[in-house]
């Protein structure tokens, strides 16, 4: 189709574009490789499938914001097709007489598919542009208290507009080209959309039609060539960096399982992330994969309650910093500025509850929570700059083995029971080890729960034991607060105790999802491998095996608050519901439940410090939602959720009954 001069011109433009793209893409790759660790690329076939599945299914998108996601799906599917379309168009332009796949049934289907998908892309793009620029959807805004790169607000708009017009232009001119083709060569029933415009072009001079055909080809293909080198500077890079990020993400035992730091190697002088290059490669990739859709921000409990934290803003700020320093970062400089000066504010850093809602919501596999945890490590291990209240909790773990700094007896909670809870020393042949946790041992409310769990186990004839005063804090709060060193010491001590007690050959049951998470998902990397269950899982099992009989009060209504560390981090949503249902009450779900559950506000060491400044307490927000269900009982499965919800309940004048599922079950059990 192209004239010889056009062909030469195209070859030159293509070479220049590919060269420039290789420069900018190399920069992006070099910046990623300045990060720590490695991108995961074991079992490449499986990882490739992960990426393909995500792109084709658009599943990560559709689960939230269905309407917008539909528009996105149209564009995404269109673009998958357009990879082939562009290659074919270039071949058809360069190779005389080449028509793919020829005038046959396959050709007709191909033309029809391209024609319809082109229309779908145009429609989808128009929807997204209207949403952003005319409707001005509020979900695309970032609240003013959040630290945001000064160029980001306008930058994102500009970027979106450019991308929008690039897509409209690219796909639109491809369509116009098809229309000119129809005008020149006669009607084609297999391109109904292109035929609409062809009618208008039919009356034009033939020479004008030919010129139009060529111009359309040049604009459609030329836009791709013009855009290619710019990709790494644009958030639109997500279209391949998103799947790339999903494919190269680390395999974690749980979405919240942290990697251990190496304290043995004396040559390591940086712990945690102070600067952007201290982050893991996968977390630098996150910034390039981010399309700035704010889905994580929608899910973030700190953001929802007016704190300075927005996980989206964190990724945006990282990305804009990378963009501002693309060249210097690629050549070994550019990382002098601490992350805390541009990526996130100090208050935001300490506002994170590590609930994992952001990582759960992200369609491209970003993990803003891990950036925050790395930065906290830097603040604690390198700078010793962290909220003062945490010092007491750290000292408590160090000296007393519990964050409350309690010097008391870890068996005191058993005194009110009418049966004896044996320690491992008293009952070395136990079947199940009950890990009581510091809360169960010392917190008055959690002691009730511990007694309820023990009662259920006792009455169902389980041969169990506890570690008593040999038990010590798992170190969850230290780890989540950035004190990895203290965590590693706590873990080491507990692993030794647990192994000495033979717990590595038994089953561990715990009433605390935070203990559950560290024991089950995190101690493994440090050499402690255990089979750990939450008490609701045990209760659900006992019930299914017919080992407990309950006859709870029928007709009461209960709502269940999913603890983040049992739900999102532990993947358990059913067992607590089964256990609760077994005890009688009708379950009424909150709007935000299961993997969308809204944090109680305690996690990530929040319960050990003052809540960061914001519009309201996270716990009040959650409690309001629980109350709106009309249920009389708020069932919980975590001593910290219990405490937060109890406090919120008191502030609201005690309209509800906040109880752990174990207590509800124990009450309803037949003697």
């Amino acid at each position: 189709m192209l004239s010889p001069i056009e062909k030469i011109l195209f070859a030159i433009v293509a070479v220049v574009s590919l060269y420039l793209a290789s420069v900018t893409f190399r920069r992006m790759i070099r910046i990623i490789t300045r990060g720590q660790g490695r991108l995961s690329w074991d079992r490449p076939a499986g990882r490739l499938m992960t990426g393909i599945k995500a792109v084709v299914s658009q599943n990560n998108m559709i689960r939230n914001r269905p309407f917008v996601s539909l528009a996105h799906t149209a564009i995404a599917w269109g673009f998958i097709l357009y990879v082939a379309v562009n290659l074919i168009d270039v071949l058809e332009g360069m190779v005389p007489g080449f028509v793919f796949p020829g005038e046959n049934a396959a050709g007709r289907i191909y033309r029809l598919l391209v024609d319809l998908m082109t229309a779908a892309v145009l429609a989808g793009m128009v929807v997204l542009l209207i949403r952003r620029f005319i409707v001005k959807s509020r979900t695309l805004d970032v609240a003013p208290q959040v630290k945001l790169h000064p160029g980001a607000v306008d930058g994102i708009k500009r970027d979106s507009l450019i991308v929008g017009f690039f897509i409209l232009g690219h796909v639109g001119f491809r369509l116009l080209g098809a229309s000119f083709d129809i005008a020149i060569h006669g009607p084609d029933p297999w391109q109904p959309v292109a035929a609409l415009a062809a009618g208008l072009l039919a009356d034009l001079e033939p020479s004008f039609q030919t010129a139009g055909l060529h111009a359309s080809w040049w604009i459609a293909v030329g836009l791709v060539l013009a855009f290619l080198p710019w990709f790494p500077y644009s958030k639109h890079a997500h279209l391949f960096m998103g799947p790339f990020n999903l494919m190269t993400s680390p395999d974690r035992n749980s979405p919240g399982a942290m990697d251990a730091l190496d304290f043995e190697d004396e040559s390591i002088e940086q712990f945690g992330a102070g600067r952007i290059t201290d982050l893991n490669r996968t977390h630098i990739t996150d910034a390039f994969a981010c399309i700035m859709c704010n889905r994580c921000q929608d899910a973030c409990p700190a953001y929802a309650t007016g704190k300075e934290l927005s996980p989206a803003a964190l990724e945006v700020n990282k990305r804009y910093h990378l963009r501002d320093h693309m060249k210097s970062l690629a050549t070994g400089g550019g990382d002098e500025e601490p992350l805390l000066t541009y990526a996130i504010s100090e208050s935001a850093l300490w506002a994170c509850t590590t609930c994992g809602a952001c990582t759960e919501a992200c369609p491209v596999g970003n993990e803003p929570m891990f950036d925050i945890l790395s930065m906290r490590q830097n603040q604690v291990l390198m700078e010793s700059a962290f909220p003062n209240e945490l010092k007491g909790a750290f000292t408590g773990i160090e000296r007393n083995g519990n964050p409350w700094q309690m010097a008391g007896d870890r068996m005191e909670w058993t005194e009110a029971l009418d049966f004896k809870v044996p320690t491992v020393a008293e009952n070395p042949d136990y079947d199940v080890l009950l890990w009581v946790g510091c809360a169960g041992a010392f917190d008055p409310g959690a002691r009730d729960t511990a007694r309820a769990i023990a009662t259920v186990m006792h009455r169902s004839g389980i041969d169990f034991a506890v570690l008593g005063n040999d038990e010590s804090c798992t170190g969850d709060l230290a780890r989540r607060a950035g004190n990895e060193y203290l965590f590693s010491m706590a873990a080491e001590g507990n692993i030794e105790t647990l192994n000495a007690a033979g717990a590595d050959r038994k089953r561990i049951v715990t009433g605390c999802p935070h203990c559950l998470h560290t024991l089950k998902n995190e101690y493994g990397a440090l050499g402690g491998r255990y089979e750990v269950m939450h008490h609701t899982q045990l209760i659900a099992d006992l019930r299914n095996d017919g080992r407990i009989a309950v006859n709870g009060e029928e007709g009461t209504r209960a709502t269940y608050h999913d603890p983040c560390y049992l739900g999102r981090h532990g993947g358990e949503y059913e067992a607590p519901r089964e256990a609760l249902a077994a005890a009688g009450p009708n379950l009424v779900e909150m709007a935000r439940s299961r993997n969308r559950s809204f944090c109680c506000g305690a996690g990530g060491a929040q319960v050990w410090k003052e809540e960061e400044e914001g519009r309201e307490a996270v716990s009040d927000n959650r409690f309001r939602e629980a109350r709106e269900t009309g249920a009389d009982t708020l069932a919980v499965g975590c001593p910290f959720c219990a405490r937060m919800m109890n406090d919120a309940n008191k502030r609201a004048g005690e309209p509800m009954r906040v109880r752990d599922i174990a207590e509800i079950v124990a009450e309803s059990m037949q003697e």
Binding site: M382, S384, F386, N388, K391, F394, R399, N400, A407
Partner: protein, 263 residues
């Protein structure tokens, strides 16, 4: 600024209960910590150095395991740590301890400021630092809650003392000795880098002969004060439930209270 921080290792009284072994730590070693008041000592000394430059030397008198307290001091950020430890020094009273520490301070050399805590939580005499100041012949500013200003060139220090019913602002010349109370600052949590540095540091141990002290001048023999361990008496209590209606129960209760000479 040459700053000396006086540090003592004490039992963790929060954890001592039945494990108390007289005035000594429990036989198993017991949980020992940096005297909590001395955390403020260290923070004050380190902050002063951060502001005015110079060097902080932490000085501790105690058994060999007291080196752990100095490790904490090093981890927090002091430049040097010296342990004064000799078996013959055991059971020195506060004046004898002050004499030993003064000998150590003289060996360290010129100083501008000595910082101590208001007291040690074990002996709780609050006298050792006072006696050190007297023996050295330097001004003492005790119970400092706020270091208002320190002028190394004019060689003055202005501090606010927290007294029982007042706050007193005092200006003194340097060198001086101050003792601090917990209102003065918020002691830092040692960073991992600090902990590592402390782990690698070697802590010199000075004995009697290093200080030019005769063994007869230290320890219990040279001390005027001796302790006799007295554990608090074990309280015996009985619970007696009184049955019956309110009036009967009240009458029985009153009778019993009169009988026991409570009323």
């Amino acid at each position: 600024m040459n700053i000396i921080a006086l540090v003592k290792q004490t039992p963790d009284t929060a954890q001592l209960s039945a494990a108390m072994d007289g005035m000594r730590l429990s036989a198993e070693g017991g949980p020992r910590i940096v005297n909590p008041w001395d955390e403020y000592t260290l923070e004050t000394a380190i902050q002063t150095r951060e502001e005015h430059g110079g060097k902080v030397t932490a000085l501790c008198l105690g058994p060999p395991e007291a080196a752990d307290a100095l490790k904490t001091a090093l981890a927090m950020g002091v430049d040097e740590a010296i342990l004064v430890s000799d078996p013959v020094m055991a059971d020195s009273d506060c004046l004898t301890s002050a004499r030993i520490l003064v000998a150590a301070i003289r060996r360290i050399g010129a100083f501008d400021l000595i910082v101590g805590g208001r007291a040690a939580i074990d002996g709780n005499t609050a006298a050792t630092a006072v006696q050190i100041a007297a023996l050295l012949g330097v001004p003492l500013v005790s119970y400092v809650a706020d270091l208002k200003s320190l002028d190394p060139s004019a060689r003055t220090i202005t501090a606010v003392r927290l007294l029982e019913r007042a706050r007193e602002t005092v200006t003194s010349r340097l060198p001086a000795l101050i003792t601090v109370v917990k209102e003065i600052n918020e002691p830092r949590y040692p960073s991992l880098i600090g902990i590592r540095k402390a782990a690698r540091a070697s802590i010199p141990v000075w004995k009697c002969e290093d200080l030019g002290l005769d063994a007869s001048a230290v320890g219990a023999g040279a001390s005027k004060v001796a302790w006799q361990a007295e554990l608090p008496p074990i309280r015996e209590a009985n619970v007696e439930m009184i049955d019956g209606g309110p009036e009967d129960a009240a009458r029985i209760l009153v009778d019993r209270l009169i009988e026991e000479k409570v009323i």
